[in-house]
């Protein structure tokens, strides 16, 4: 049963790769060339999927002010990976479990003490991370730890690809089908309650999606850098548009483009892929910060100066 499912999953992924390669081969040869390698094709598909799902969720992370929570969950994933490694389980099972447990733990501390959420997060995620470091130092090599921390997209294999595909489809389906509920909940949770929505379900559902996305992104950008993919695309889009729907689409596109461009640069210059991807997305943010049509620093400066200049030329 599981094996046939796995086979089907691999077939779907091979199909996606084939479709993707049709497009890649339309590119100029210099650009398409690295993607003739099988491992680069898998890396490209993973990057697209991870870029898309992180980018999409990052809009909600920005609007809900959950950047720190994203950081917390991503660190909390480490002990899960270590324990799974120890027990011979697939790494994402353990990662998902400790990530979700930590976010629940944060809520428990918040509700039952006078400690506020930022301290609760700081406390829980460093504790979980420390546990992970201790376990890993016992059982695995330091290169293994480096791959978990910083990702190794060039070494991605089928199980991780399938997980990314699953996360991508699930997040997309939830955002499309429950767009209205998420909008009301993020914009005005009290209004959501007054319409009889179960806000706890939405709240924890969103946290679980976030956890799943982080776990699915582990191999691409790694634990430390995934938070950049969960914050920066949304932050960039937030500076550029005025509608939630366009913000979601734009942050998804920014996520995909950064991941693909970063992967390409990493291959060309033989540098770490996770770092390259994050630097590219940060570059996009900088551009928006400076030149966004309404909110860019430079744009506003130019507008201010030309507005001041006008009356002078009149008189």
């Amino acid at each position: 049963m599981i094996e046939s499912l796995q086979g089907a999953g691999e077939a779907v992924i091979d199909l996606l790769i084939a479709a993707m390669m049709v497009l890649v081969n339309l590119l100029p040869e210099a650009l398409a060339e690295p993607f003739q390698y099988r491992f680069m094709q898998r890396a490209l598909l993973t990057s697209i999927l991870v870029g898309a799902v992180c980018g999409l969720l990052s809009s909600y992370v920005i609007l809900k002010r959950w950047s720190l929570l994203g950081d917390a969950i991503s660190h909390a994933v480490l002990p899960g990976v270590a324990i799974a490694y120890l027990l011979g389980w697939p790494f994402f099972v353990g990662a998902f479990a400790t990530g979700a447990l930590t976010s629940l733990g944060i809520g428990v501390i918040e509700r039952n003490t006078r400690i506020k959420s930022d301290a609760a997060m700081g406390l829980m995620f460093t504790a979980a991370f420390a546990l992970g470091v201790v376990i890993i130092s016992q059982v695995a090599t330091s290169t293994h730890l480096m791959h978990i921390l910083f990702g190794n997209v060039l070494g991605v294999r089928y199980p991780a690809l399938m997980l990314s595909l699953f996360a991508g489809l699930l997040v997309l389906a939830v955002v499309l089908l429950f767009y209205k509920e998420l909008l009301v909940y993020v914009f005005d949770p009290v209004q959501a309650r007054s319409q009889g929505l179960n806000t706890s379900v939405i709240h924890y559902g969103l946290i679980l999606l976030l956890t799943l996305t982080i776990v699915a992104s582990l191999e691409t950008v790694g634990i430390i850098l995934v938070v950049a993919m969960l914050v920066t695309p949304g932050a960039t889009a937030y500076l550029l548009v005025n509608r939630l729907s366009t913000m979601l689409m734009l942050s998804t596109v920014i996520g995909i483009v950064s991941a693909v461009l970063g992967l390409f640069l990493a291959f060309q210059f033989n540098v770490a892929s996770g770092g390259a991807i994050v630097l590219v997305v940060t570059g996009f943010f900088l551009l928006a910060f400076l030149f966004a049509p309404q909110r860019g620093v430079v744009t506003r400066w130019i507008r201010r100066n030309s507005a001041q200049g006008l009356p002078k030329t009149d008189t």
Partner: protein, 272 residues
């Protein structure tokens, strides 16, 4: 006709033995309150008297530590799911940098109705909402004189406009009970008159309007019924009598002063 009369006789809000606490401190202490349907009701009280807490309990965002709340004779949660409770928050409560247009916000008042259509239609994106909902949004925007700002991003609105957009969202919901948290704070004269006119219009259509306010003069002028609360219900009745200077100075002021020391920072409690 008889059905209408029957529904009029069922109180819009029936509260029994309601207590609400933040941490261990009681903000509402064993309240009994019955609010008749089809009236404009002002809930008045000093800062931290539990006015907003009462509203938030009705809305369902705060869990009472004991007691029951019925709306139109049903458990409040059932009426919420049925879209019969509309709510207008104080405008500081909402993030106005949110990337939404005026129309988006008002349409979100219809989401409950869209969900109730059931089947696959409940999953439709808001842009695909049927004409009925679009029409309700247009009407609500017209009622608050914001129909020329439909596409405007909410971050560019003035204080009075923000209030009116939140009111339009509540109107679009087409609920029998409207709950408003300080609808007149921080608005200009024109918006204030417009908002009160809309609320009176809603009352005249048979809806129940419950507004929390600390503006005693306004409550005396506009409300049919006043409820004076200060952690418990101090009095209910004709606004002119209940909120007469004499009454205020005898009952309310005495209660406010005696409570002052115990509950000095109630505002910070309500922010949560």
């Amino acid at each position: 006709m008889t059905a209408e009369r029957a529904s009029q006789s069922v109180p819009a809000v029936q509260i029994k033995g309601l207590s609400v606490a933040y941490d261990s401190e009681l903000v509402l202490d064993h309240i009994d309150l019955s609010l008749p349907a089809g009236r404009l009701i002002a809930v008045v009280g000093p800062n931290g008297a539990g006015k907003s807490t009462l509203l938030r309990t009705l809305v369902g965002s705060l869990k009472p530590s004991s007691g029951s709340v019925h709306v139109h004779g049903q458990a409040a949660e059932r009426q919420r799911r049925a879209g019969q409770i509309a709510y207008m928050p104080q405008h500081e409560q909402v993030d106005w940098d949110f990337p939404l247009s005026v129309r988006d916000v008002v349409l979100s008042g219809r989401y409950g109705r869209i969900r109730m259509e059931g089947g696959w239609r409940r999953f439709l994106l808001p842009v695909m909402a049927s004409d009925r909902h679009q029409e309700a949004v247009r009407e609500a925007l017209k009622a608050v004189d914001m129909h020329n700002h439909e596409q405007q991003p909410i971050e560019t609105l003035s204080g009075g406009q923000r209030k009116r957009v939140l009111l339009a969202r509540a109107l679009a919901q087409d609920a029998r009970l409207l709950l408003l948290d300080e609808p007149l704070v921080g608005v200009d004269r024109r918006s204030e008159e417009l908002i009160m006119e809309v609320l009176r219009g809603q009352r005249d259509q048979g809806r129940t309007v419950v507004m929390v306010t600390h503006d005693i003069a306004g409550a005396r002028r506009d409300a049919d019924i006043a409820v004076l609360i200060n952690r418990c219900v101090v009095g209910t009745g004709d606004p002119d009598k209940l909120l007469s200077d004499d009454m205020i100075s005898r009952t309310a002021t005495a209660a406010w002063l005696s409570n002052r020391e115990k509950r000095y920072q109630p505002d910070t409690l309500e922010v949560a």
